[in-house]
Structure formats: C-alpha cells, structure tokens
Symmetry: D3
Subunit: 238 residues, 6 copies
C-alpha cells in the first residue's frame, strides 16, 4: 500500500528553498517541505542577553509562529501555546550545536520561523531552513567586516520519522502525523552525530528495534537535506 501522495516509505516530500526571501533580514529563506511553507529569517544583534554580558560568548535564540490560517482550522493570533515554546527552544538549541559561540563573540542571532502553511513537519522545516538563513546572515556580516570569519562548525538539518498504520515512514505530512502511533523528530549534523532525538508515543508505546529502524530512516533524509543546504550555500565557506 503506497502513501497517499505516492511517496515511498523512505522518501522526502519535494524540498524547495527560496533564498533571500525577505529583503530586510540579514539572512532569510522560504523553505517548503511539500505543502509546508516556513519563512526563516536571521537577525544580527550586536549584544547578548543579560546572562551572557561580559562572557565573551554569543547566543542564538529562536522564535516560532504560525499565521492564523496556516492551518485547516484558524488558530488564534498572538497566543503562543506550550507547543510553540517547545519548538522555539528546540530550534535555538539545535542551531547552537553548530555555532562556535566564543568565536561569535558577544553578539546574538535571533531566528524567526513563521509558518505560512502547515502540512506537518513545520519544526523540522524550520530547523533546516533556519540554518540556511543563519549561514547567509553570518556571510553578510562577515562581508561587512563585523565578524572576521563565519563561526559555523557543521551543517545541521532535521526530519521527522514515525510509525503509522504499522509502517515506518520518513517525513510525515499532516494526515500521516495525526494518525501516527508514534513519531520522532531527529536533528543531526553533517558529520552524522545526533543533536536531538525526540521520540514520542501518544496513546501507544514503541520498541528499541523500531527506534533503531527509524533512526536509520532519519539519517537517510537528513543526508539529502544537508545536500540541499550545501547547494544553496555554495558560495559561503566555513
């Protein structure tokens, strides 16, 4: 039995990246995982939050939002939920894993991920697209002579995997996600290690064996996403 949209079990949705989507941001892109569309921007600020003042260390922070009609049912504006908080903490933590914060110095990059249309996998699209916006922003401030080199250590991307109708599948869309017994969001760097593994069953459980198979599936998807990042950032060295 094929997936509704005809994809193979281990196949990503079509991935599209539009670089420099917002003219005012230091770095930006529109990233699409199939029908999921997220605008990612990176804002450079020449200061750090109070808890880092005097530490000679920088910071990456992220915010995540959804337009009211990005979903089938309109969501209330300006009403961030617990889910929102989890996602923006996850995005920030993931990006910090590939940034040399001491090399960045006492500066902050604020990532904004705004979901224009949500069809599953918004947080994984947001992490994957934010990395692109971040790299563009670093390149821009380096060109402007504000930083000397790009303080990136590695690429980073994210994808969801899950168990639905007894099949293990890659990159779940909304209909697959809402009927899944469990799903797992995996964040990996270019070198192949994990930064985050969040496996969650809702009204169900999962075994070690299933988890191992899903991690393999995620690895495959993330390799492809990082290849797309590399194409889009071809002129930027780090």
């Amino acid at each position: 039995m094929p997936r509704k949209d005809g994809r193979g079990l281990d196949e990503l949705r079509p991935i599209r990246v539009t670089k420099d989507y917002i003219k005012y941001a230091e770095g930006s892109c529109l990233i699409e995982f199939g029908e999921t569309k997220v605008i990612c921007t990176a804002t450079f600020e020449d200061e750090v939050p109070p808890f880092l003042k005097g530490s000679k260390t920088g910071w990456i922070t992220a915010e995540y939002g959804m337009l009211p009609r990005s979903c089938e049912t309109r969501v209330k504006r300006n009403n961030p939920s617990g889910r929102t908080q989890e996602i923006q903490r996850l995005i920030g933590r993931s990006l910090r894993a590939v940034v040399d914060l001491e090399k960045l110095g006492e500066r902050t990059i604020k990532i904004d991920c705004d979901v224009i249309q949500a069809d599953g996998g918004t947080r994984t699209a947001a992490i994957t697209g934010s990395f692109i916006a971040l790299a563009i922003a670093f390149d821009k401030v380096k060109e402007a002579g504000i930083i000397k080199s790009i303080p990136l250590i590695d690429y980073i991307a994210a994808v969801s995997v899950g168990k639905s109708e007894n099949r293990l599948i890659l990159d779940l869309d909304y209909s697959e996600d809402s009927s899944a017994d469990m799903d797992m969001n995996v964040v990996m760097v270019g070198e192949g290690q994990f930064v985050e593994v969040q496996g969650t069953a809702e009204g169900s459980t999962f075994t070690k064996e299933e988890m191992d198979k899903l991690l393999n599936l995620a690895q495959k998807g993330i390799n492809q996403l990082i290849a797309i990042q590399k194409q889009n950032l071809s002129g930027i060295d780090f």
Copy 2:
C-alpha cells in the same frame, strides 16, 4: 525632480495579486504594492459574535499582523500596538461598507492580513487584498450551497496619498511616508463614494485646497486598483 524609484507623482507602484495563496483558507491572496507584501485570508464561520446573536445579521471582522522581520528593524512578536488596533478596525469597517450583512445572515467572515514585508501602504494593500480574499470566500461558500448569493454591494479599495517635499504624491512607499508632512488614507467604493478619509499631519498642518487635490489623486489610484480586482475576480458575479 522625480521620485526615488522613478515613478510619476500620480503613479501607483507595480501591483501584483496571487490568488488562492493559502490552501486552507476559504479565500486568500498575496497582494504586493511594490515591495510591500501582504497575505490576506478570509475565514468563514457559521456564527456571529454575541452582540449579534438573534439579529439575523452577519459580521466582518479583521486582524492585522506583521512578521518580526517584515521591517527594517525587527518588531517584537505577539505585541500588537495601538497602530495595529487602528488598522484592523479600519479594515473591518471598510469591508462592512460593501457587504449586505442582512443578506449574509448570522455568519462571520474573519479577515487576516499578515504583512510579510513592509515598505509603506500596508493598510491600503491589506484593504485592497482583503476584498479579493473576501469575494473568493463568498464564491466558495456559495458554490458549496451554504449561501445562496454573494452578499457584496460594490468593490472597495484603498490607497495612500500625501504631501512630501512640497509635492502631492500617490501611493507612498516607506521612505516617502516617513518624511511626509502629512498623509491621507482614502477608502472608496467602485461607485466613487468615500467610506473612509483619514488625513493626518504629524508636526504640521494642511489646507482645504491641498486636501482636495489629494482626494483627486486618490480617486485616480483607486480606479486602477479596482480594475485589478475586477480582473482577478472575473468569474465571480455579484
């Protein structure tokens, strides 16, 4: 002395409309006035706010937001200002002027205008685009048999005019708007009457004669905007 972008004093910026931009909304478009980009959606709800329960009358309401990096300087998320409140009240009031609320019956249309990129004139783009989203939504629910006919009375569009560097100009972009001595937002219907005239001087004043000239300029721009609306809504009769 020409305008910075080479436009004539009485010339609109390039206007672009992308219909059905968001798949979940009953009606939607992306509208662009030059570099200003606004996503407009119309959500149909089969109920009215409490103050209209039992009135056999419908309602149109609007919300307006800006993505954090839609501006040169990042704006705080989820932090609607007094300006936001003014604009969303203006959008709702304007659209209600061309809807037969009794014919709509006890239903509500919620308009969402989200500014993706702001380069002046976001409220006039929002009104102009929202009318398109509204008409599409009405057409869709009519096709679905939920309403019998489209309860629209007329077209409606909006444009800004103002006095800047001693010249009277049409459709101000951000740099013109921020240096203007006064500006006026004008909302007109297809038949040529006004729904709203908001002339505002900041640290200056204006005469009756200037106001008359600006209203003529606005009329010219609105005629063009309504022509664009008609093209985009060609299959929808009311």
Copy 3:
C-alpha cells in the same frame, strides 16, 4: 424638524470649562460639551521617552480613559479597547501639532483625559480641554523658571460633524452619533488649517460634496471653541 435638544444644525452644545480642577496636576480643567464631561490634566516630566534621548526634542503623549459608569451601560475597568488606543494616539498627535518640541527641550508632557460622563464627542472635548490643561501647565513651569517661554505655536480644538437622518449637523451627542450614517472628527488650529480629518461611514458611504459642507460646519464650531479657549487662557501669552 429640529434636533432633539432644540439646537440648530450648526449649533454647538453649551460648552463649560472649569480651570484648575485638580490641584495636584501642573495644568488641569474639567470640560463639558453638554452632558459630556471630561477631566483633562497635564503632567510635566523632566525627561523624554527612550527614543528621544539625546535628541534635544520634547514629547507630548496622551492617555484616555472612561469611568465605568460614564456610559449608559457599565464598561469594564482597566480594559482599554482598540477605540481607546485610537483616541489617545489622536489626542497626542493633535497637541504635538501646536507645540514647538525643540523649544520644549528634552521634557515630556503627559496628558490624561478621563471621561466622567459620556454623551458623544468625548474625543473632541478631550482635545479641546487638553489644550487648556497644556497651556496652564506650560505657564506654571515657566513661572517656576523651568522653561523660558511657552512653546506653543497656535491654539487647537476639535469638533465632530456628521450626517444623520439626511441632515448635516455639528457636535453630535450620543443619540445622534449612534444613528448617524457617517461622522467626521475634525481637528483645526487657530490659523484655520487642518491637523486631522477622520471621516468614517459605518455601513454607508459619503460624497465629496457632503464632505465639503461638513468641513465648513466644523470650521464654524472650532472657531467658537478656540474663542472659549482664549477667554480661559487670557493671562497666558505665547
């Protein structure tokens, strides 16, 4: 057909001003437009908001509130609406038009307008009364030697006009305002130019010809209001 209270179409309600109504404020008055009663105070502060620090320029800001039983139906306390925001922005903007902010220097005047009883025209009474409170406050701090001269450029007053039951009328009371097809708030300076024109139809439209007649009506009312301001401020020169 005469107006309910017997006034002519172009007649203001009885206007009363009680100067120095609140002993603690640098300037204050109670202003009454018929049954509409507003307490206006002006508070002098020897600093400016952050965005003006170092600019050698002052600021005028305003807040507007209604006592819970200032209205027929009790309004919730501490619950400023979008309407409140619009009005306080309008009051501040209007007063700034007649203040030489550079001459004021880095000081702020905070205007508070509190509606004790609301019978239509609260915002126009508030603007008209706030100017009196402002002038008294400037006079007081000048007497105290804190400023050298009064940084006022002109008088300023406001009045509403509208179309109701097919008649164009001046200074609408609440019952006229709530049944009007359109109304317009006009703010003018002593020299006769406009600072603000806000014409708004609710569920209706208006023509250029109607607008012209209404502006004439407004001019007439504002001339009378400024004459009353002059009487009350007779000892204060600028």
Copy 4:
C-alpha cells in the same frame, strides 16, 4: 499644637455630598472629605455571579480606582495594586453587612468608587459615599417596581483614626497619614457595632489603651457621617 489645617484632634474635615452626580448610574454621588473627592456609583444587575446562581441570594461587589493625577505624583493607569485589591474587598464586605442579601434576591449591585483627588481617607470616603449611591439605586429600582422594598438593614460609614506626633487624631489627611506611626480604619453601622476594624502600625506598635481611645474617636466621627447620610437620603425609607 493645632493640626495643620486648624482642625481639632477629634474634628472631621468638611464633608460635602453631591447626589445624582452621574446621570447614567442607578445611584451615584460625589463625596468630598476636605480635598479628597470620590465619585461613587451603584449599578444594578439582574443576575448574580456564578457562585450564587440558584441560591436566591444577591451580592454587592465593589471596584476602586484612582485617576492618574488624583495624586501628587502621577500613578500608572490600569495598573491596580495590592492596595487597590484590599480596598475594593473592604468596600464590598462593608456594604454587604447592611444589605439583606436574601431579600435582594438574585441581583448584584456593582459599586464603583473612582478617586478624582486623593488627600487621605479615600477608602473611608468611598465606603461612606457608596452607601449613599447604594440607597439611591435601591430606591430607584424599587420605584421602577423591580424590587418590592429596599433591602437595607442599617446605615454604614467609615472613618480613619491614627497616632501621629504622639497625638490621637480623627480623619487623617494625606500629610498626617504619611507621617503617622499607626492608623486604623473603622467601619461602623448606625446601631453602633463594628463591621471592620483594621489597625496597622508601620515600623511601630500600639497598645490596647491607645486602641480603645482611637475607637472612641472613630465612633464620634462616624456618628456625624451617618447624620449627613440621613440628610441626603431623607426621602428614602427602609
């Protein structure tokens, strides 16, 4: 050594009551204790809060606010403090002591006390004035046939007493209150019993003997306040 304003130790400030001060409220007055001015209104509602639904018992609730410039130093608008909460709970509790809530039936009276000018004793003026507004409101709804009789049991009034500069004094004004070692707010009914005694030392203590003398002083002031209430409510029987 006389008091600053020449009063005797056991003398009230001049008390003034202006009945029916706000035309929309069911009952209202402006009450003045010297320079302290409070607008009190009573709003009748034909329902009770959720916790009393079905109880056949009514409710009296109160809110208290201060205009921003009612004080020497401007206070922030819409920013009720802990002190505000204490005062409005005290006003409600006091009035409920003289209302037969079962006789009132499932109705609520909302009291609003808004301080126009604060010179000490705002809470005692508020309680004393609110009783007048409450009695007028009951009389009005009785006249309208909504209730059969006025559900009042007794008069109620309040006054402050305190120890300042080693003297025991009645009805402290602001300068006396802020330099007092301790002060006590006393609420009594016409029959002479207490409803509330709140004696509070700040950075000091007080003895039983001092407390007894202060309660006598309070009794004297409250007798006078109730006499004034009776004059103002002369036509209302209960």
Copy 5:
C-alpha cells in the same frame, strides 16, 4: 459543647516547627498549625528595591502562595487573588515592625510562604513561621560576616480569634472559620504591643466588648507561639 477536634475555646492546635526544611534558602522552616502546613523561606539579597536606593535602609518583602491541592477544591495555579495580595502585604508589614531596617542597611529579605495544606489560619502560621526563617537567615549571613549583628528588635507572632456559634474561640480551623460570624487576625510582638489588628465581620457585626475578649484570647495564644519560636531559635541572640 466542645470544639469538633476536642480543643478548649482558648486552646491552640498542635504547633510543629521543622527548621532548615529547604536546603537552598538562607533561612527556612515548615510550620504546622494542626493540619495547616506552610513552608517559609527567607532569601537574602544584597540590594534594595529602587525606591530605597541610596537610603541606607533595608527592606523586608513577602510573597504568599498556595499549592493547587492545598485546599478541598483545587485552586488555579499562578492566579493570585486579591486575598493573596492582602496576605503578602500583611506578612511583609508585620515582619518590618521587628526589624531595624537602618541597621540592616541596603539589603532585602524576601520571604516566601507557600501553603502545602490549608486548614485555616494560613496567614497567621505564615507570619509566625516567617519570623523563624528570617531569624535563621540573619544568623546565617551574620556567621558569613555579611552583617555584623542581627537587626531584630523583638519576636513577632500571629493568631486568629473569632466568634462562631456564639462562642469566642482561639486559632480557628477551616470549618470554624467558614462558619464564623466574625474573625480577627492579631499580630503582636514579644513585648505585648499590637502591630496589626484586623477584625472583620462577614454579614454580621461585633461589639466593643466582644472585641476586648477576643484580644485577650489572642494575647494568650501569641504568648505560646513566641515561646515556641524561642525554643527553635535558642542559639540565636539579638
């Protein structure tokens, strides 16, 4: 007729104190008045609130909270009521009465009182326990050499008294409190003077004679509470 739990009219519930209950706080205890359990902590901060900067004077402030299931019916989390505000103001004011704030210097002690289980008298237990936490904290920072001597002037404790079923009783538990005609919270210092007397009738009144008897009852209870404080603070001199 004995009290439900067999106590005499003038008998306290069993009082238990567990010192140093929370390892991180400078001072802490768990205090139990029968089934009422309150965790009190004292946090030392080497600065004062803005209004005391430069005054060479310290400050004691308090916060009070209830765990959601400290009550028979679950209370909403993070939702402080007017009652909460009253209680925390009372705790802070009471403790300040026995602290020499000038001797403390520009430091703040933050008291936190968290009710684990509420069976009446939480505010009196909180005051009584907070004094113990405060004294332990002062002793600790004195031992650390941060202050030279303990800036305490006297002991302080609190108890409730009230009239229930026509009897005057000491230390009301929840069932007694909720059926009482009036209750009074009394705060006294070791030397026998009052700091606070809050007598409150709900739907009732009380006489001077009743008040006098209740104050005697309170004195008796407070003497016992201070004896318990002295046992628990035996090694701490001031």
Copy 6:
C-alpha cells in the same frame, strides 16, 4: 573516579515515597530522588475539556511548578517558562500512555507536580510520583463507586541518563546535569517499551552507540523505580 556522592555510574539516588501526603487530594504522594523532592497530587473531575465533550473518552492533564526557593537561586513566582510548558506536556502525555481513556469515560484527572526542592531529575521524579498519585486516586474513586474498575494498563516511570566527564551515568543530580554534554530523559512502561525518549545535547553531539548504552542504563533504573511503585501500590489491583 567515583561520582561526587559516591554512587556507581548505574546507581539511582535513594528513592523515598510518602503516600497520601496531602489530605485533600484524591491521590497524592511526596516523592524524593535524593535531595529532589516533588509533591504529586491527582484531582478527579467529573467532566472533560471542551474538545472531548461527547467523545466518551477521558483525559489526563498535568501542571508543574517550582516553589521560589526550590532552587539555589530564587525563581520568580507565577512565571511559568517554556521549560515548564515542556515538562507539563511531557507528564500528561506519559501518563495518558498507560490509561485506558475510553474505560475512564468522560472524566479528567488533573495532575499537579510541585517541586519543593530541586536537585536534578525533577521531571522524572514527577512522572514516577504522579503515577502513584494517579493510581491512588483511581482506587479511591473506584471505592466510592464512581468508576467500576481502575483504567490502568501498565506501570510507568522515568529516569534521566547522560554523558558527563566522558562517563555514561544514571539519574543525574543537579551538579552532574549542569556539567553534562548531553542528557536523555527516558519514559518506559512496566512491559519494557518506550513512551518517550528525549535525548538533547547542549553545545555538543552524541553517537548512536552512546545512545544505545544510555538506553540500557535507563532500563535498569526504571525497573527499580517500577518495583518501588509496586510496593507502594500493593493493595491496588489493575
């Protein structure tokens, strides 16, 4: 090199459970993982949230809080952070995995986890203790005849594992947690499957091999925790 507190790498801290700690809650316990102390209560409500009305399905929801001085540095009261939101969502989701929500019917259990003292592992202690409170509550309402049988499917417990100073360790205390390169919270049921695996690196990454070893370590700890749950719930059958 041993752990600071002398524990083996695969050793839990001393675990203590005090059942029925709060008398008002349907189910409650105090659970201690070493110095970490959490009060868990379960509140039974005979209704479900709006999104489940009419579904014949129940719900388990959770809230999590910390007392201000549960931490080394005082945390602000009533100020839930993103971290709080994540934890309470995790607790609710975990418990729902072992409850047969259809068998529960349209009822809600509200879990409250309040951290009295925090020394690492508060979320895992909260999940482990909440299960005990939940089972006690189910038993109590079953005894009362409100539900016919206990709708539990399995036991559930949680523990943290992590990599610190190049060693893989079980049940991290605060000092270990704050110096760890990565940590993982694992939630498992009695049958041995996972409900949640949250592996998170902060400024670091981890390999598949490390993850496998940590999951083994977690399994070992969870087996011991479930044995303790069984002892404490020995009289309750499901």
